[in-house]
């Protein structure tokens, strides 16, 4: 009962907090502060769950879950409110709370119109994303999957710039097309399972027992994979991402890259592989190929970019390619690496988008060609940009390296060729990163710009993220330990 209270609070607290903002729609300052308070409490709540991780598993919980709650919701259709948290969910929930908090802080000054609505949407989205990471019922999962989509649509549409309506619609259509197919597949497996057992249920731990003919499972898995591949994004379904990032407000970019991209990978790990093991294995080589091609191609395209946000967007595609590779080989070390990489990429890219957002806020441009010689003008900003760019380029001792290295070490055993090609993918990020750094930070200034260095608010969360990067780069053990049991259970090896 205690578990269920904790999980429900964790899930719905941001939503309730968001709804609390409605009376304050005309009072931006107060709305901001309330939202920040809600976000902070949510982060504390999420961190509090870490303490439960060592507790004995509750009765009735699937193996590996240390928090679990299951209750009826729509009994006629066998829909249940099943929430559960294992090490994987825990890390991603904490990441969600942290990134949402950063998203609130980066939009502190830059959002000036409809402030309360902006924060309301951020909080609704937080509930949606946390719901995705906690649901163990496919109906619930689908529901939250769609819930997190809608606020993002409005974020881009209302506060975006450039061709924001085009990008918002594009983002919406891409993800919707994928997820509708997934809905069909969910209904399909629901009916098949009901026919076989007479018990109609959307619960994951019921549905995994379904025996499916190979061809059927292949079709159903493809529908899931499509939905997840759009979110990842995998080649060639990635083109919504650069547009969405470029035209989104900073908070939108931060959440998009930091969190939404992770939901695809999470869905594949939590639902795709357990529900359709043979089909998933059979599609492994396809996934590996798409992953490796994505790594190389996206890094290569990133080099040509002139807009900083587009550059980071393409680099996100490349980094998520590593995650896809780690999942596709489906081996313990690689999968742990992929999970770690999800967290690491979330932290690093959040910081990078926040930094670009700050520059945009000050200079009203994100064109690389406008800047130059920033090191001499705004040293603190430049230091953070250099730091996070190096983390993103895979500098050992910082966080991204750990995930990427484990993925490569784990996948080399299974697919040496892919791993070797992916290794080439550690040169290319350096090439575009140092070019970007050089043109922005070094050389001489190209346009006279009056820029203020970062303030306490910005320095505070950037410093926090930087510390997290260093900590995870030097001592990832707590996180690895957290996912070790779930990974072992998923793959079926001894932890």
């Amino acid at each position: 009962m205690n578990d269920s209270l904790l999980l429900t609070t964790l899930l719905f607290f941001p939503l309730i907090g968001g709804l609390l903002l409605i009376p304050f729609l005309g009072r931006p300052v107060l709305a901001r502060q309330i939202a920040l308070a809600v976000g902070t409490v949510e982060l504390l709540l999420a961190s509090f769950c870490w303490l439960s991780a060592t507790a004995p598993p509750p009765a009735g919980a699937p193996a590996g879950f240390f928090l679990f709650s299951s209750r009826d919701w729509i009994p006629d259709f066998g829909v249940r409110l099943i929430l559960g948290m294992d090490g994987i969910s825990l890390l991603l929930v904490i990441l969600t709370a942290l990134v949402t908090l950063v998203a609130m802080l980066v939009s502190w000054r830059s959002i000036t119109k409809r402030v309360a609505l902006h924060y309301l949407l951020l909080l609704v989205m937080e509930t949606g994303i946390i719901g995705v990471f906690l649901s163990l019922d496919l109906f619930l999962f689908y529901l939250f999957w769609e819930v997190m989509l809608i606020p993002m649509f409005f974020l881009i549409g209302i506060w975006g710039h450039g061709r924001n309506i085009y990008s918002a619609v594009k983002f919406f259509l891409f993800t919707l097309a994928g997820s509708l197919l997934m809905l069909l597949a969910i209904i399909g497996i629901y009916l098949l399972h009901g026919d076989q057992t007479g018990c109609y249920s959307f619960a994951l731990n019921e549905l995994v027992k379904t025996t499916l003919p190979y061809s059927t499972s292949l079709w159903l898995y493809s529908a899931f994979l499509l939905a997840f591949a759009v979110k990842f994004p995998l080649l060639p379904l990635h083109t919504w991402l650069p547009d969405a990032h470029t035209d989104a407000p900073t908070a939108g970019s931060v959440i998009l890259a930091g969190l939404l991209l992770k939901t695809g990978a999470y869905g594949l790990i939590r639902f795709g592989y357990p529900l359709f093991p043979e089909a998933a294995r059979a599609c492994g080589p396809l996934l590996m190929t798409l992953a490796v091609v994505g790594i190389l191609y996206a890094s290569w395209v990133a080099y040509a970019q002139t807009d900083m946000k587009r550059l980071i967007a393409y680099s996100s595609i490349a980094h998520m390619g590593f995650v896809a590779l780690g999942i596709a080989v489906w081996r313990p070390v690689a999968l742990s690496g992929a999970l770690l990489q999800m967290v690491n990429h979330g932290l690093t890219t959040t910081a990078l988008f926040a930094l670009v957002g700050m520059l945009d806020e000050r200079a009203h441009s994100r064109e690389i060609a406008v800047f130059g010689g920033l090191w001499g003008k705004i040293p603190r900003f430049s230091f953070f940009l250099l730091f996070f760019a190096m983390a993103s380029a895979g500098m050992p001792g910082l966080n991204n390296f750990v995930g990427e290295f484990l993925i490569l070490a784990g996948s080399f055993r299974i697919t040496p060729l892919s791993a070797c090609l992916a290794f080439l993918g550690i040169i290319l990020p350096l090439v575009y990163t140092v070019r970007f750094l050089q043109e922005v930070l070094f050389q001489t200034e190209r346009q006279p710009l009056l820029l203020a260095d970062i303030n306490w608010r910005e320095g505070g969360f950037l410093g926090l993220l930087a510390l997290a990067d260093i900590y995870l780069g030097l001592h990832p053990e707590p996180l690895l330990a957290m996912v070790r049991l779930p990974v072992a259970l998923l793959i079926g090896v001894v932890p």
Binding site: L173, L235, Y297, A419, F442, Q443, L474, H475
Partner: protein, 631 residues
């Protein structure tokens, strides 16, 4: 021992952290003093570790990467090889830090400079002391980053920033090969510990061992500026001169050699790999020496000579002479740091002029610098009885002892290179210090601290031979110290062979020096200066531009890369992939319009379609009924 080892690395790291975080708020002297004291403390800890050293120790500090069967802890390993390098690094870097205080006295960005310099030393020591390959890789990339940041230290000039970027990327190309070797070794041996790997070479299939060895060689070639990845080092001279001395002469660039020596028990099982290492080393040595012959920039001469000398070390490793290669690595660090620091004095005295054809007469105006440079030049040229003479001769002896056609040919090229080395060294010396002052300005005074630093380095470099005398003159200290590392047969030439080889080396050095004097000494100097006014032609231009490798790589790799990136973005990504999605969406939209036009408000059309639909439905139901009834 654990404390000493931790201090060795942590002191420079803390120095870097303090300077980076609050150096700006400290008084300048304190900031500088902190940086130097950090390295000094590290050196003291290294000495303490040396005095209490008895046998190899492995010390685990914390866990780092550990997951399922994969394990790479934060652990350090001290054996004679890492210990001797640690002593050298902390000693040389400590002196260079002191030198930097004077050299950078005018620069306002000293905080960033010292923080990076300290961070570099920490990373370099981590590289040397790492117990496993991923940790070594961390140090490896760490020094690469510091090198990048320090080459481009004066970032306002495009040239400097470009040079830093080039160094970073070219070495990263080698790192890919190194990275693949790391995970491949893990796959084969299920361990990343260097000591364990070294004992497991026998269980690896030969072809895989050869492939891994070649990958490691390629990785080492990136860091150590060996063929075909040597193009970054000459440009790296854009950084401040003490940086060139510390990173691009004494320590980081020898990391590749160190890697190969560290894993020598593994790679020596493959004769192909050893031959490849020896050939790479010899070719690079010849390449560097030939290019150094015609350079005009003082620092570029030294850079090419570094490439060439590291080639010698590689040759030593390839010939199985680990002791000789280590010896040369240490001695080279001393005399090359000395040469660079002396060059820094020269450049200061010449008001930042680096063209050797515009120098001259410094023997009289800056005598202390002259003697320092002379000591370094004698070592580099292999003048008999200097440290450089013995260390280079040790390598050539090891090559000679290998015998066979290949190694005999390599010995001949090596001897030829030694001769060219003496020639270009004394060409530089004579042009810089000989004759009369050509510069219009008066020479600037060199800060005494800078000249003073040259003294200890000169002593160590000149007397360094005592560390490891050939067996003719007694026993080698270093050989005894490094003996536990030797695998396979010990190289033990007869005394007569040894003497003959010493004589051959001396002859090469004397011929080179003599020829340099004949061309650049006395009155011939003016002839050469006049010649230098003419544009370079033919072979000279070829050598001056480093065999045009930069242009070749630009043509083969850089331009295609940039063009393809544009192509992928504009054509493939925007037009083909995104365009097809947009066209698909447009198609759907047109269908929608078409269907939408049906709902145009004409009731007659609605009635008609209603009737048609109903007829279809009824017809379908009827067909179902009849077919069911018929069946």
């Amino acid at each position: 021992m654990k404390l000493y080892l931790e201090l060795i690395i942590l002191l420079p790291l803390f120095g870097a952290l303090i300077n980076a975080l609050c150096g700006r708020h400290l008084p300048r002297r304190l900031s500088e003093w902190l940086a130097c004291a950090a390295i000094g403390g590290s050196f003291a800890a290294a000495l303490a570790a040396f005095s209490s050293y008895s046998s190899p120790v492995r010390i685990e500090i914390a866990s780092w990467l550990a997951d399922f069967d994969f394990s790479a802890p934060l652990a350090l390993y001290l054996d004679p090889l890492s210990l001797s390098l640690t002593l050298m690094i902390t000693f040389v870097c400590g002196l260079i830090h002191l030198y930097s205080v004077a050299y950078m006295a005018e620069d306002p960005c000293y905080v960033r400079y010292f923080a990076l310099l300290n961070l570099f030393v920490a990373a370099m020591l981590l590289l040397v002391l790492a117990e496993n390959l991923p940790l070594l890789y961390m140090g490896w990339e760490g020094v690469g980053f510091c090198s990048y940041a320090l080459i481009g230290f004066w970032y306002k000039e495009v040239k400097n920033a470009d040079a830093g970027r080039k160094a970073f990327i070219v070495t990263r190309v080698g790192d890919v090969a190194f990275g693949i070797a790391i995970v491949w070794l893990f796959m084969l041996c299920s361990t990343e510990s260097i000591v364990d790997l070294n004992s497991m070479g026998g269980s690896i299939p030969p072809w895989k061992l050869t492939a891994i060895g070649l990958l490691l060689l390629f990785g080492a070639a990136g860091k150590s500026a060996q063929a075909p990845l040597m193009v970054w080092l000459p440009d790296a001279m854009a950084g401040p001169t003490p940086v060139s001395a510390q990173i691009h002469a004494a320590t980081m660039v020898t990391a590749g050699v160190y890697l190969l020596m560290r894993l020598f028990p593994l790679i020596c099982l493959s004769p192909t790999v050893l031959a490849a290492i020896a050939i790479t080393g010899t070719l690079t040595a010849l390449y560097g020496a030939s290019c150094a012959l015609v350079q005009r920039d003082l620092k570029r001469v030294l850079a090419y000579s570094t490439i060439s000398q590291i080639g010698f070390m590689m040759l030593g490793v390839g010939a199985g002479g680990i002791t000789a290669a280590t010896f040369h690595l240490l001695i080279h660090a001393f005399f090359k740091a000395l040469l660079f620091l002396a060059a820094g004095c020269v450049i200061t005295a010449m008001h930042h002029e680096q063209d050797i054809y515009r120098m001259g007469g410094l023997r009289k105006t800056a005598p202390l610098t002259f003697y320092g440079f002379l000591a370094g030049a004698l070592c580099l040229a292999g003048f008999p009885l200097t440290g450089g003479f013995f260390s280079k001769d040790g390598i050539l002896t090891a090559v000679w002892e290998q015998g066979g056609t290949l190694y005999s040919a390599l010995y001949t090229i090596g001897l030829l290179t030694a001769y060219i080395t003496a020639l270009y060294t004394f060409r530089t010396l004579l042009l810089v210090f000989g004759g009369d002052c050509r510069s219009e300005h008066k020479t600037a005074p060199v800060p005494p601290l800078m000249n003073f630093i040259l003294l200890p380095l000169a002593l160590v470099a000149l007397a360094g031979g005592l560390l490891n005398l050939p067996t003719v003159f007694g026993s080698g200290l270093l050989s005894g110290f490094l003996a536990p590392l030797i695998v396979g047969p010990v190289i033990d030439p007869s005394h007569s062979t040894e003497l003959a080889l010493l004589l051959a080396s001396s002859a090469a050095a004397f011929t080179g020096i003599g020829l340099a004097w004949l061309r650049y000494g006395g009155g011939r100097r003016q002839l050469r200066l006049n010649e230098a006014e003419q544009p370079l032609g033919g072979l000279s231009a070829f050598l001056f531009h480093g065999w045009y490798l930069d242009d070749l790589y630009a043509l083969l790799f850089i331009h295609p890369f940039i063009r393809l990136s544009q192509f992928f973005w504009k054509r493939v990504d925007e037009q083909v992939i995104d365009g097809s999605m947009d066209r698909f969406a447009g198609l759907l939209g047109r269908w929608g319009m078409l269907l939408g036009s049906l709902t145009c408000g004409r009731v007659s059309l609605y009635l008609l379609s209603f009737a048609a639909g109903a007829a279809l439905l009824v017809g379908w139901l009827a067909w179902l009924m009849f077919s069911a009834g018929g069946g």
